[in-house]
Amino acid sequence: MITADKKYEYYFTAEDAEEVRTNDSDGQGTSGLKTALIRFLSAFICVKIILLLIVCSPPALAAERITAPQRIISLSPATTEILFSLGLGDRVVGVTSFCDHPPEAKKKAKIGGMSNPSLEAIVGLKPDIVVMTTDGNPREVDDRLRGMSLKTYVWTARTLAELPRGIRELAGVMGVKENGEKLAREMEEGIEKFRSQKTGAGSQKKVVYIVWPEPLLVAGPGSAIHDAMALLGLENIAANASSSYPRYSIEELIRSSPDVLIIGKGAGMDIRTVAQGVLKKLATVPAVKNGKVCYVSDHLYRLAPRIIQGIEELAACVR
């Protein structure tokens, strides 16, 4: 939390804006006429500003508009999706080569991968702010960027429950508080809807989410998928693993006899073909025996707004 708070140092507050204004109206002339003219003009401008403020928007927003970052670089696919959902697509000038959603994101300039972004490419895009994440970007990149006096914002939310807070915070930094509030509320409502459905479902089904069949990688605790399962009242059989995407023992998977098998969408290859081998091995597991094998999209892989659709898919699988 300390690091997250520290990030706020760079962006303007209402106080800063006030200071700027007082400096402007402080112009001291030598001749009386000149001073009077300036006084008159500044008073006129002041009145106009006040009028504008009253007519157009609340004062805080006006201050934000002056200082809101216009050129944004996103160093993770999840934050790219969130920025686009906040209506900031036009202001995003650079993304990673993994940022493939929404489709417009693919057209943005690429600054390299998540773990190895090119500092040169980032600096070359002259960003007002670089959005990073604690989940995938190395700390050194943040240090280097700030060493070159670039502003960074570090996204820290890692669980489904933290997502709305993260969205509000990011929206605040980007000067689109209202959009942020709207999106965060949508998320909260979506999450709440599924939580209330869960109490109706009753029986705890055992599920496993296969991220990749060979070698067997499943979704473990710490992943958004695990959170989604918990939200729906499902028991993740890999809950005892020690990482978010563990290489899981197939023997252990058979022993825990999951009721539903969920297979995520793979990039590049047809996951159904890749999964043939593992399904053959799991033939005696209840999920496979009863035809409860469910292929889903990649909505749950990123902690981003479309996770709600992902939860919907997951709920449909176990219904």
């Binding site: 080569s97 069949p213 070698p215 252990e252 058979i254 073909t273």
Partner: protein, 321 residues
């Protein structure tokens, strides 16, 4: 021949195989098998043990051959670039969308890659109507660097998650071992093994030097080519079974020489069996150390193999061929 050591050796191998079948984070009691136990035993553990044995045997025997043929105690089937070539070919196959054979595609492309690289190394090592050890070794090292570099390049420019995960497979993974690949790979390995065993007297002579072997009546260049071919066949089959498992090819011949002597007639089969048992053991450790997670066997072999290798190194004169 050292009969007591021989008996201990066989006992240890059998013990490891039994442990690999029935022990682990969850024990399987062979005397009261539940349906699930039987299923796990038959479709998970048995293919794993068989694949581990086959791979270990191929690598152990290949190491013994190569150390003899190249007359170099450092030789290992992977030093010739066979594994990196196989990985590169599998990665290229995946990138170009080669997935017509389902889960067999990666092993198939890996085998093709390994076979091609073996031929390439052979071609570079060929001069004046024969294979020359130094040329083979240098060509192999050069190609190894080239292929590893290209593979790294592919990995760093590609954002294809599938490719990354498929390449994970190349770092020695037995967890997905399956009956389907075993018969084909076993045929290659048996052929290779047969070739070596029929040539082990020539191998013995060649270790002493080409002139010496020649004076004993062996056609050195022909024998060398056959042995090299047998090694390439076995290593390629092993790579396609479970990817790259380091250290077995290097380590096993040295251990066997230390325990049972350097006669190739015994060294090659014993290195093979020891390699198989060692890989079974590594796989057992890999799945037992941090359950329910699995560690790739390739890393386990190195972690356990390297210290023993260094211990052997401390003993004088052991690391000659």
């Amino acid at each position: 021949m050292r009969p007591v050591r021989m008996i201990i050796f066989i006992g240890v191998v059998v013990g490891i195989v039994l442990l690999a079948l029935f022990a682990g984070p969850r024990m399987v009691n062979p005397f009261s098998l539940t349906t699930m136990d039987r299923e796990i035993l038959y479709s998970i553990r048995m293919p794993r043990v068989v694949v581990a044995m086959l791979m270990g045997m191929a690598l152990g025997a290949s190491g013994a051959i190569l150390q003899g043929v190249l007359r170099n105690p450092l030789a290992d089937p992977y030093i010739l670039g066979i594994s990196s070539g196989a990985s590169l070919c599998a990665a290229l196959g995946l990138l170009s969308g080669f997935y017509y054979f389902g889960s067999m595609s990666v092993p198939l492309t890996a085998f093709i890659g390994a076979a091609l690289v073996s031929m390439l190394v052979g071609a570079f090592g060929w001069k004046r109507g024969g294979l020359w050890p130094e040329r083979l070794l240098l060509a192999g090292i050069g190609l190894n660097f080239l292929f590893s570099a290209v593979l790294m390049l592919l990995m760093s420019v590609s954002s294809d998650e599938g490719l990354r995960r498929a390449v994970l497979w190349m770092f020695g993974d037995l967890s997905m071992a399956d009956w389907s690949l075993i018969p084909t790979a076993a045929i290659f390995i048996v052929i290779g093994m047969g070739l070596v065993l029929s040539r082990s007297r020539a191998l013995n002579a060649m270790i002493l030097g080409d002139e010496f072997a020649h004076s004993l009546g062996f056609a050195v260049q022909r024998e060398r080519l056959i042995l090299f071919g047998a090694m390439a066949l076995m290593t390629s089959a092993s790579v396609s079974l479970g990817g790259t498992i380091g250290f077995i090819g290097l380590l096993m011949p040295h251990i066997v020489r230390f325990l049972l002597g350097a006669d190739s007639r015994l060294l090659v089969p014993a290195s093979a069996v020891a390699g198989g048992a060692f890989l079974c053991f590594a796989d057992l450790v890999g799945r037992s150390l941090m359950p329910p997670m699995e560690l790739p066997s390739g890393t386990v072999t190195a972690v356990f193999g390297a210290p023993y290798f260094l211990y052997l190194l401390r003993r004088k004169d052991v690391l000659s061929i």
